[in-house]
């Protein structure tokens, strides 16, 4: 999967659009006809399919940290991923812990996230260092909620500590803190 076009002009973008179903029937049939004549593009499409399957597998394995939607969470649940959800209010700390059966931990962060050029989500130890920083996160669940999913196996490695999730937004050159959400992380629990 090197280069962007095959020697006959079919592009990587066309193959990707075909694979995900973004072409109309006529365009899809043209791509298919080309694939059965061009070994190079058949190999590129195989690479796309393999990569697509690996992304889906990473999600089903709850190994991806990401902003998600309720639709994605519903699909994860249908796929058997066990999800624990916390909804801390801005400016407060709530207790949280990771249990043996948890695969994924979701934080529902509520606030007014509208009108910013760029949003940043930081996870840090209270009075301590940053553990992760995600710059330019997308708003997927409207302007008033951000759903962030974290692998439970990742959180299990953290000791008991107070954590802060901080959402900030940029307007022009100025960065504003929109909300700080506290989690009293009790560590990995057992039953």
């Amino acid at each position: 999967m090197t280069g962007e076009q095959c020697s006959r002009g079919a592009s990587f973008g066309d193959l990707l659009d075909y694979w995900v179903g973004d072409f109309d029937q006529g365009s899809a049939e043209r791509v298919e006809a080309h694939l059965f004549e061009c070994a190079e593009c058949a190999q590129r499409l195989a690479d796309i399919a393999t990569m697509a399957a690996a992304v889906a597998e990473a999600m089903r394995g709850a190994r991806v940290q990401s902003i998600v939607t309720d639709g994605v969470l519903n699909k994860l649940s249908r796929d058997g991923v066990r999800i624990r959800t916390y909804a801390p209010e801005p400016g407060t700390f709530i207790p949280c812990a990771i249990w043996p059966e948890d695969d994924l931990v979701v934080s529902r962060l509520r606030g007014d996230f509208s009108g910013y050029d760029e949003l940043t989500l930081v996870l840090k130890a209270d009075e301590g260092p940053e553990l992760s920083r995600n710059v330019d996160i997308p708003l997927l669940s409207g302007k008033r909620e951000i759903l962030t999913a974290t692998s439970a196996s990742h959180l299990r490695r953290l000791p008991s500590m107070r954590l802060r999730l901080i959402v900030s937004g940029k307007r022009g050159d100025t960065e504003h803190v929109i909300g700080e959400y506290g989690l009293e992380h009790g560590g990995a629990m057992s039953r």
Partner: protein, 186 residues
């Protein structure tokens, strides 16, 4: 003869000209070249690895029988013949497979039905690369390949034009690919 250097049409002609079953090396070479494409066609249209593998078997049974019996009129366009056969058989298989899926859902472990022939990547590497992508790229790939959302669906969520989503999705996959392939070659 180095079969890798022979054209698709020459392979088809060699199979059609030989006594039935005598051109087994040419038949194997034709399978090596086209089975992955038929499988991808099956995955794209049937959305199931087991059904795609069934399609490969069905198409090649028809293909080899038709070549051996002289039933393929234009050997120069053997790729088109294989595509046409794939289309016809996928339509039949879709109906058969839907019935089989219902049975499997009811009586058996679905994991046992997945053919073990799919190419795979180092999954740990993919996980790391996915988590290291910019947040928008990561989300775009998740919505595309896990949630199976089309560009028009994602466009409304991201408040972007569908065309811009396609470009961004293309770039995000290229970044993931570069990360996975780059690390694998070190």
């Amino acid at each position: 003869m180095d079969l890798a250097a022979v054209t698709d049409a020459m392979l088809a002609d060699a199979i059609a000209s030989a006594a039935p079953g005598a051109a087994h090396q040419e038949e194997a070479e034709l399978y090596r070249r086209f089975a992955p494409r038929v499988r991808l066609y099956g995955l794209r249209h049937l959305r199931d690895a087991a059904a795609a593998q069934d399609l490969v078997q069905e198409v090649f049974i028809v293909l080899i029988e038709r070549l051996r019996s002289g039933g393929v009129r234009n050997l120069a366009t053997i790729g088109s013949f294989i595509l046409g056969t794939s289309r016809t058989m996928a339509s039949d298989l879709r109906r058969t497979h839907q019935r089989r899926e219902r049975l499997t859902d009811t009586f058996a472990d679905r994991a046992l039905c997945v053919a073990p022939t799919e190419p795979t990547l180092d999954q740990a590497r993919v996980d790391n690369c996915l988590n290291s992508l910019p947040p928008r790229d990561r989300t775009l790939l998740i919505l595309t390949f896990y949630a199976e959302k089309k560009a028009s669906d994602i466009a409304s969520t991201f408040e972007m034009a569908a065309g811009a989503v396609r470009v961004a999705r293309h770039r995000a996959l290229a970044r993931l690919r570069d990360c996975v392939m780059g690390e694998s070659s070190r």
